[in-house]
Each structure stands twice: as structure tokens, then as C-alpha cells.
Symmetry: C2
Subunit: 390 residues, 2 copies
Amino acid sequence: MRLIFIGLLLISSIGQAADCLPRGTGDLGIIIERAAGSVQVVDTTHRKALFRVEGLGDLSHASAVYSRDARYAYVFGRDGGLSKVDLLCGMLVKRVVQGGNSIGGAISQDGRLIAVSNYEPGGVKVFSAETLELVANIPATKTPEGKGSKTVGLVDAPGQRFVFSLYDTDEVWVADMSDPKSPKLTQFKEAGRHPYDGLITPDGRYYIAGLFGEDGLTLLDLWHIDKGPTRILSHYGKGEQQLPVYKMPHLEGWAVAGDLAFLPAIGHYEVLVVNRSNWQPAGTVPVYGQPVFAMAQPDGRQIWVNFAFPNNDTIQVIDTETLKVIKTLKPGKGALHMEFAPRGEEVWISIRDEDRVKIFDTTTLEQIGSLPVDKPSGIFFTSRAHKIGL
Amino acid sequence: MRLIFIGLLLISSIGQAADCLPRGTGDLGIIIERAAGSVQVVDTTHRKALFRVEGLGDLSHASAVYSRDARYAYVFGRDGGLSKVDLLCGMLVKRVVQGGNSIGGAISQDGRLIAVSNYEPGGVKVFSAETLELVANIPATKTPEGKGSKTVGLVDAPGQRFVFSLYDTDEVWVADMSDPKSPKLTQFKEAGRHPYDGLITPDGRYYIAGLFGEDGLTLLDLWHIDKGPTRILSHYGKGEQQLPVYKMPHLEGWAVAGDLAFLPAIGHYEVLVVNRSNWQPAGTVPVYGQPVFAMAQPDGRQIWVNFAFPNNDTIQVIDTETLKVIKTLKPGKGALHMEFAPRGEEVWISIRDEDRVKIFDTTTLEQIGSLPVDKPSGIFFTSRAHKIGL
């Protein structure tokens, strides 16, 4: 009898072990299935799906960050949902609805805190990465109507900080989370009219906010925070002609290659080139449509650009030395998002209207594989766990 | 009887599962225990050792690279041993003695190939990352005495290439491994007198070899390989004074921060500062001893420097803006190697003579923890899996 009992006990343990086999997590990723509210967990070495995890709510514009052990993805949904997904077991570990309407999040430098920026109610909430319990609440400045400003462009920065922008009240805030329960805030007012998105340079030094209410961008040097924000690229924006803008470009799509940064122009069929040492314009590259993401290969050799509707069936590849388009690809309609293998040998591209993710070799620029994915949008690989600002 | 049989079968499976529990591998690393010929597998989140793996042979000057899934470390020993260590199970998976005397290795961009550079017999051998079976053998040029040149400074480069130098015959070679069984070689002769080590910039563009036989360094622009190698920093070297050099600095310790590179001077108590855009000197920083490694924090804000005997009880921290030493630490005798957490919040330092690895906070510059390790030398975290040239 005793042996039988042990046998049964072990069967139940095996059941778990079989679902969560030991494997490295360095070559995993998730792909957002926007319409279904699910994610696929993928193995990038064998180019195959491992799991589908469902029940993540509204995943329009969803993004994700990774735990420092690269096992868990934190998925930020549009409906205020924050979901912790276990990539090894293909399981939703926990989900909290932390706001009414949210846009993006970040993980702290030490990996212990998850921050989410909210439209409704405006502000940033900070959670334990382990338990998703609320650690700190940072409400935004109230507008004259008494509502908290929409909060956008949230990133992590070195020194256990989060940086974000307040859309309605034209502010940039820096929250030092060294003492997690008592965020130390530095608040910059009049930091540009309606910041709508933000980015941090890969070294974590410069925070840049895009402005919806005026031309130019706001730059904050986090090495010299006492100097406050300055304005750069004053001709960057919608300009006087007020072109129709089909989609405001994503700033996290900014590409840095050598001394240059590449950014999608707003409303124009151009990628702008900027000198990184002084943030002055250094040229433009004419492209096929209104760019949405301009992303640099990890080796900085090429920039891959996708476009707003009706040109979103196309991807163009720019050589960062000659500043010329060297290839125009037609991977399919709804080419929404790109993600590079960490060492840059291939790029995965979501083709929404074909329900496929297509994989291209970055040397030959040829398609080398694909996976079926239900209305794919964002693709996020675990190598992001080790990068500042991602 | 049948049930009993199942029970026993399961017990044996559980035995394995218990040793190899599912967990993420993004926060793991290994520390070389040089004298014992073993490595410790460490968890950097909880700052603790998980396993000791023994039987790796002579680990003087040992280095390591990681599989693309961040589960396996490939350890290159001085005795020609190539060992594949499973970090999840704390196990030596396989060990081959592939040469008589070797120095370093690399993993290909796609993660499928491991290359090892050998002193004896000179040349590079390429193995399957999966099985450690020999895939290709690239013998070095023979010296007049009929021996193959010692091969050094081996790195991986984008485009599935390996780059390395031939010490005795003054060459730099580039091997394109796109067809693994038929390496396509580009060989540069008269590439500088006795290259003794090499590095590749973090973007994988520039290969730089240090020269033992003359001053200056050899630079190869891998974006324009047809132009061949050129000489840079002609005053970099032992110079005419022929100072005693206690230890030739490690070139993989070169630090890149913003527009500047920082490199250990040879024989002088200085760190040299170089402008990255034209490879011209941009200043020197006086330091406490002959520098061995000058390593940049991931955010580029500070450079950490250790020193050759008799000054190897000291670490200095340089501010990359002011180019001044801002802190002198005395962590203990035999401060041999440093490794940063991938987002830079802390640095782990091997203190050989105290049999400890000490951990410092990069913001406060205070010690925040330590681990007992038997004669620690190299420290290698799994985030290297995702970096070009590491």
C-alpha cells in the first residue's frame, strides 16, 4: 500500500515536470495575438511555437518586458491588465487589472519592480515583479477638469529610476525607486506641449519625448538631471502643412547606429537622420510611406522600416553608411512589428493580415521561415531582459 | 508488481527532475575556480551558488561563451580542453581535448558553431555546439621551423564569421562559416608584428589586434574587408623605454562609452582614451598601477580598472565625462576579473587570494555582498549569449 501511494504521488509531480521541462530561456520570446487576447511562446532556435497562453484581455498596442531571469514576460494590455506569463510552463501566473486604460510599462534596473503607465486614472503604478502586489502609486498632476493627466512614454533608467511623461499637463517626471515604497520624484513642468511617447537611448542616458502639440522633441540628459529638459530638432513634427498623419510613429522604434540616430518622420515619407553627439539633423532618407518603426540591426549595419496604412504591406532596408534604401520587401499586408535575433542574424516580422510571422535573413534579405500566428502584432524576445530601457 | 515497477521508474525520473528544476537562465553565470579546475554556477538574483562542476582540467586563463538559449556554457581551458557545462543541471555534458595548448574561443552568430584557437598545434578548430563534434579544421600558416603559428584573439563577427590573428606569422584571418564544412578564408599577411590578442567592437564592426612585436595596433573594418588592415595608435605599446611589463593587458577588456574607447596602457600607469570615430588618442587617465582590464559599465557612465601585480589589490573607478578617478577601492589581493550585471546595477569582482567574489553596487560604490569561491578568476554571466563578440 505504501508503495502504491508513493507511485501516485510521483505521477502528479511528473505531470507538472512534463509541462515545465528544464530548458534555457535565452532563445524564447512571445508574440502578441492581438485579436484573440493571447500570446504565443516561441523558441527562436527551432523557429517553432511552444505554447499559446490565453486570457490576457485587450492586447491592442500591447507591449512586454522580461524578468531578469528571462523566465517571465510581463504583458501590458490596453485595458489596464498586467499579466505575468511563465514561458517555461506556458502558463498565465497572475493577472491584475490595475487601471482603466493603460499604455506600456517597464521593469526596474534590478528586476524587482514593474511600473505601468495609465491613461485612466492618469499616473504610474508600481508592482512587485514577484507577486504583482502594488508597491507604490504615483498619481499624475490633475488637469483643470480634475482628472489625472494621461501618462505615457514610461521607461526604466539606470539608478533604479523610471522616467515618463504627462500628456495633458506637459510634464516629464523622473521617479527614483531606490526606496520602493517612497518614490523620490523630480518633476519638470513646461516640458513641451503634449508629450505623446518617449524613449531612452540604449545606454540609458538620454530620455526623449515626442510632442503632439508642437514641433520638436524634449530631451532630458539623465546624467545632468539638474539642467532639466531642453528642446531638440525644432523642425521635427507635423509642421505647418499639417499633413494627414495616419499613425504617430513609435518612438521606441528609434534606431541608433554608430554616431547616427534614425527616426521616423511624422506625416512625411522620410526617415530622419540625426547626429547623436549634438542632436542636430544629419539628413533624410526618402522612403515608401509614412514610417512607423525604424529599427537598427544589432550590428548597426542596416535600418529596417515599416509603414502606416495604406503602405503597411512593405518593409524597406536602409544602409546606414550610404543612407540609401537597398531593398524593398513585400512581406504581406499588415507588417506591424519587427524583432531582431539578439546577435542580429535574422529578423521576425508580424504580418497581421496573413496570420503569419515571417523570418528574414539579415545578410541575404531573403525569407527563411515562417510561423502561423493569429493576427500577430508585437514580438518580444527574452534578450530584452538584459537591456536598459526595453 | 506492475505498479511497483512504475513506482521505481518514476523515482529514477524524479531524481533527474529534482536536479534540473525548471527555471529561467537569464540571471545565471559561471565563475572559474582556476586552481581546482572547476566552475561554480551562480544565480545573480539571489547572489548564491547553485552548483560546482568539476573535472574541467587546467583553467588558467580560461574563458567561456554561452549557447543561444543561455543554458550551456562552453569553457575553453588552457590545456586544449573544451567543456560543455549544463547550468540548469550543474553537469559536465561533454569534454573534448581538442588541442595541446589553447587560448580562448567563440560562438558563431547563429549559435551552431564553437571555434577554439590553439597555440599547439596552431590554428582554429570548429565544433558543433550541439555535440562538440569537429566540423572544420583551419590549420595556421607554418613558420620556417615547420610548426603552425600560434593562433590568438579569436572572436565572432556578424555574417557567421570568425576573426583571429596568427602570432608567429603576423597575420589576421577572417573565416566565413556560412557553409560550416567549407570555411571561406580571407587572409591578411603583414598585419603587424606578433599580434598577441584581439577584440571586436560591441557592434561587431572593427576587429583590433594588439601587437607584441611593435608599437601600434592593427585595425580591420569588417564592413570594408577589401580595404585590409590598417595601423592605428602608433604610440600605443611598450615604446622605446622598454618598461617592465608585468602582464600584457587583455584587449577584451576594452571599454566603449559614448564616443570614447578606454584601453589599458602597456607598462604605464595609465588608461588611454581614444576617439572612436577616427581612432585618434583623446587623452590619458593616470591610475594606480599597470592596468589589466578597463571595463565600461553597461550605461557607459564609469570605467572600472584592475591592475597587474603588485597592485592587484586595488580597483579604480573612472568617470567617463570628467576622465578622473572618482574612487579607489581595496577589495583584496588578487582582484583578477570583473563582470557587470547586464543592466549595470552591480559588478562582481574575483578576489583570488581571499577565495571570494565580492559584489559592489555601481551607484554607491559600496560592497553589497560576497560569495565563497575557490581561487576565483574569470566571471561570465549568461547575458553574453546575446552579445556580438562575447
